[in-house]
Amino acid sequence: MKILYFAFLRQRTGLGEETVEAPADVHDVASLVEWLKTRGPGYAEALRDTSAVRVAVNQEFADLHTPVAANDEIAFFPPVTGG
């Protein structure tokens, strides 16, 4: 799956975009977040407070319960501030 990071999440993870092969038990946003946090201190820091993070799955707003699959595009970002 393709993972995107914006704003402070991009800065903390150190990358804007990556393609990952998640373990089989990653089936929703919550389990994806838990797995991503194990990938390094930048990820753990970026995703520590999920109340400050918004998520979109395939460019639609989603939440922790939204299912994710291999070909999905999942984006993490702070609440939008508008233009």
């Binding site: 914006f6 704003a7 460019q59 501030t81």
Partner: protein, 157 residues
């Protein structure tokens, strides 16, 4: 009907001219041009970098434009939003709405800019004398956008 998210600057007069060229059915064109201010929350702003989500940002803009066209009888509608690093005085956003009736043009323009300023998928990194920081969502903006959850003002002429 168009939505553009671009790094480049835009020309307000040229954009209006294109929308209205040869048209004799448009009575009013409402425009909102947003500029970068040198002050935000009391701090001097040296520059601002706008980040967006390519694909999703445009999709959301197209959806809100479609909603505006549904709520008001618009002949034309244009939204341009820039991203990247901008300095005080730079143009950042343009909304143009055109209708036979001025109230429809005015109301839809205000609706769109309220939405853009609160709900559009952008994130802002401000450079101030105190360093860089990400701007957080603001309450007063959310209130302005919430006004539009009511039914629109009737076109008055």
């Amino acid at each position: 009907m168009a939505v553009r998210v671009q790094r480049e600057d835009f020309d307000v007069g040229a954009e209006i001219a294109v929308l209205t060229a040869g048209r004799t059915d448009i009575g009013g064109v409402a425009t909102f041009l947003g500029l970068v201010r040198d002050i935000a929350g009391g701090d001097e702003v040296k520059a601002m970098t706008l980040e967006h989500y390519p694909g999703m940002t445009e999709k959301m803009l197209a959806e809100i434009e479609a909603e505006a066209r549904e709520r008001w009888p618009l002949d034309e509608c244009l939204i341009i939003h820039r991203y990247g690093r901008l300095e005080p005085g730079d143009r950042i956003v343009l909304v143009v709405t055109a209708s036979a009736h001025r109230q429809a043009a005015l109301d839809s323009c205000a609706f769109l800019i309220d939405w853009l300023k609160t709900t559009a998928a952008f994130w802002k990194l401000e450079e101030t004398g105190q360093g860089e920081h990400w701007v957080e969502a603001r309450e007063s903006d959310d209130e302005a956008a919430a006004r539009w959850d009511e039914s629109p003002t009737k076109a008055a002429g």
